[in-house]
Amino acid sequence: MASEFNSRAFYSKLKEDKTLVGVKCQDCGHLSPEPRPMCPECHGFNMEWHAFSGKAKLSTFTCISIVPVKMAAKGYGRDKPYCTGIVALEEGPRISAMINGVDGTNPQSIKTGMDMVLDADDLDEDSPALAFRPA
C-alpha cells in the first residue's frame, strides 16, 4: 500500500493549512517533522499525522552570500545574503528552515536560542519552503 506520508503532503499541508505537519509513530511515540512511512527509531510502519505547534527556538544559522541558482532568481546574492538554519521545535525534534525577518547582512544581530514561530504567510507557489521568523 502506498504511503500518504511524503514530502508532497508535507508541503501541501504547509501551504494550505499554514501548519507544520509531520508524523508520530503510533508504536513508540517518536516524532518526525519529515513525513515518512517507517519509524526510524523502532522500525514500525504505524505512523500517523502529527501537527506541530509551530513554536521553536533557533539552534544555529548561517547567512548565505554565494547562493544557489533558485535563490539568485529571487534577488539574493553577495549584496543581499539570506539567513537559513536549524530550529528546535517545541515538541523536541529539530528541522532545517529558512529564517525570515532577520538581517542577513548583520549576523551578529541574529541570536541563537531566540523564540521563533512558523512563517507560512508568503510561500512560493511552485517551491514552498519551510520558514520560521522571530516570535
Binding site: S7, E34, S59, T60, F61, T62, C63, I64, S65, I66, V67, P68, V69, M71, A72, R78, P81, Y82, T84, G85, I86, P93, R94, I95, S96, A97, M98, P107, T112, S127, P128, A129, L130, A131
Partner: protein
C-alpha cells in the same frame, strides 16, 4: 547502533603498492577520463618494480557527479576502455565527497574476500565546466533535497551552521578557522600537485604587487590576518565562513594499486598495509545528536582503530576532510586527537602543523591541494602512503620514522564517513 561496534577483521590483509595523482586545478581542455589516465600514468611511472597492467583484475572508481558536471553517466566502462583493461569488471561508486574513500573500501574487501589479488581503485571529478552557482547546486544535491535544500541550505551553508554551533558551544572564533587555512596553504605550497602552491603570505604579497602595478590603492596589510580580514580579499560565502574557509572547485583524479599481502613484496620493498577500514552513515545535520560533531566520523574511526588494534596515541599523522576549515577542527575532535572544543586551541598552539604532535593535512588538505570531490578520498590515502614511505619531499613530517597514518573522508555533510588506518610494516 548495536552491530556497528562489533570488531571486524578482513579475511586477509591488503597492501598499497602504487599511487598516482593528476595535477589538481582547473583544466578546461581535459575531461575526467583524461585526468584519470594522467593519475594512472603517474602511478605506473612511480611503481618501485613496475608491473604489468594486464595483471589488474578488477577496479572501483569514485565519482560524485559526472552526470551533472559533464553530462556523462556510466563512467566506469569508459575508464576501462581508456586504460585498455576491458573486459575486467569496473564499477563506479558514488558517496558524494567520500566516493573514492568508499571505492577504496570496496577494493579492499574484494581482495580480502579472496576473489582478487590485484585491484585498481581511484577517483575523479571534473568540476570546473560549471559556473560557481551551478557547482553550488550540484554539491547541494548531496544534502537532503526534500528538507535541507528547499530551506536554502547550501553545502557551505551547512558547515557554516556547524561553525556557528561550535562558536556558541566552545571558545571557537573566526581567527581559529583562518589559522587552519594558513596552515594548509603553507603545506600546499610544498606540494607540486596542489591547486594552490602558495602560502597565504605569498598570496597577500601578490595582491599588493598587483595593486601597485595597476596603480590601484595599495592595501595596507601587515599580517596574514589583515589580508584575510579584508572583505575584498576574503569575501563571505556562508557566514561565518569566508572564501579562505572553503576548499576550491577542482578538476583532478587519483588512483592506488591494491594487492593481497602475499604478493605485496613482488611490487615493492615498502608496501603500506591497510590495517583498518571503517565506514558509517549519518543523519542530516538537523536530526543529528550534536550540531558540532559528525556521528559517522566517530563511528567510522572507532571501527578502523579497532580493526587495526591501535589507539589515538599510535597515530603519527592524518589527512582529514577539510572541505571547510571548521570541518578540519571538527574532524580532529571526532577522530579523538583532541577532546570536543579543544580543536581550535590545538590549531592555535601549532599542534596540527607539520612539526606538531598531530600533523594534519601535510598535503595542503582539500583546502590547498584542491577538492575534486570524487577523487579526494584516495588523494588523502596517497599522501599518507608517501609520508609513511618517506617520499613527501619538502613537506615530509618532522617526526622521525612515521609508521601509522589515518585518513578521514566525509561524504556530503556527514551522511557518509570513511576512515582508514594505514601502516608501514617494514
Amino acid at each position: 547502533m548495536a552491530t556497528i561496534n562489533k570488531k571486524r577483521q578482513l579475511g586477509r590483509q591488503v597492501s598499497i603498492v602504487g599511487a598516482g595523482l593528476s595535477q589538481f586545478g582547473a583544466f578546461p581542455e581535459k575531461d575526467s577520463r583524461d585526468l584519470f589516465v594522467e593519475a594512472f600514468q603517474d602511478m605506473v611511472q612511480n611503481m618501485d618494480r613496475g608491473f604489468d597492467i594486464e595483471d589488474i583484475e578488477c577496479a572501483y572508481v569514485g565519482n560524485y557527479s559526472s552526470d551533472l558536471f559533464e553530462h556523462q553517466g556510466h563512467t566506469a566502462p569508459i575508464l576501462a576502455d581508456w586504460l585498455g583493461i576491458t573486459p575486467i569488471p569496473v564499477t563506479r561508486i558514488e558517496n558524494a565527497c567520500a566516493s573514492s574513500g568508499s571505492a577504496l573500501r570496496e577494493g579492499v574487501m574484494a581482495i580480502a574476500s579472496g576473489m582478487y589479488d590485484v585491484v585498481l581503485v581511484g577517483g575523479m571529478e571534473k568540476m570546473t565546466n560549471l559556473p560557481t552557482d551551478g557547482v553550488t547546486d550540484v554539491l547541494a544535491s548531496a544534502a537532503d533535497g526534500l528538507y535541507e535544500v528547499p530551506a536554502g541550505l547550501t553545502f557551505p551553508g551547512i558547515f557554516g551552521a556547524i561553525a556557528k554551533a561550535h562558536m556558541d558551544k566552545y571558545e571557537t572564533n573566526l581567527d581559529h578557522l583562518l589559522k587552519v587555512a594558513i596552515k594548509n596553504h603553507s603545506n600546499g605550497a610544498l606540494n607540486p600537485k596542489a591547486q594552490f602552491q602558495e602560502t597565504v603570505t605569498q598570496m597577500m604579497e601578490r595582491r599588493i604587487s598587483r595593486a601597485q602595478e595597476r596603480g590601484q590603492e595599495v592595501p595596507d596589510y601587515k599580517t596574514d590576518m589583515d589580508f584575510l580580514n579584508d572583505p575584498k580579499a576574503n569575501p563571505w560565502i556562508a557566514w561565518p565562513l569566508r572564501l579562505y574557509d572553503c576548499a576550491p572547485i577542482t578538476d583532478g583524479a587519483t588512483c592506488v594499486l591494491l594487492v593481497s599481502e602475499e604478493i605485496a613484496y613482488n611490487f615493492t620493498d615498502v608496501p603500506i598495509s591497510i590495517a583498518g577500514i571503517g565506514q558509517a552513515s549519518g543523519k542530516p545535520l538537523h536530526d543529528s545528536d550534536e550540531l558540532t560533531s559528525l556521528s559517522a566520523a566517530k563511528a567510522a574511526s572507532q571501527q578502523a582503530y579497532d580493526m587495526a588494534g591501535i589507539t589515538v596515541a599510535d597515530i603519527d599523522l592524518a589527512e582529514v576532510h577539510d572541505c571547510f576549515t571548521i570541518a578540519e577542527i571538527v574532524a580532529t575532535e571526532d577522530l579523538g586527537f583532541f577532546s570536543p572544543g579543544e580543536g581550535p586551541r590545538a590549531v592555535d598552539e601549532g599542534r596540527t602543523a607539520r612539526d606538531g604532535d598531530h600533523p594534519i593535512n601535510t598535503s595542503g588538505g582539500l583546502k590547498a591541494k584542491g577538492h575534486p570531490v570524487g577523487a579526494s578520498g584516495v588523494g588523502q590515502v596517497i599522501e599518507i602512503y608517501k609520508q609513511l614511505r618517506g617520499e613527501a619531499g619538502e613537506r615530509q613530517v618532522k617526526k622521525t620514522d612515521p609508521t601509522v597514518g589515518v585518513t578521514h573522508n566525509v561524504g556530503g555533510t556527514g551522511g557518509t564517513c570513511v576512515v582508514n588506518v594505514l601502516r608501514r610494516e617494514s
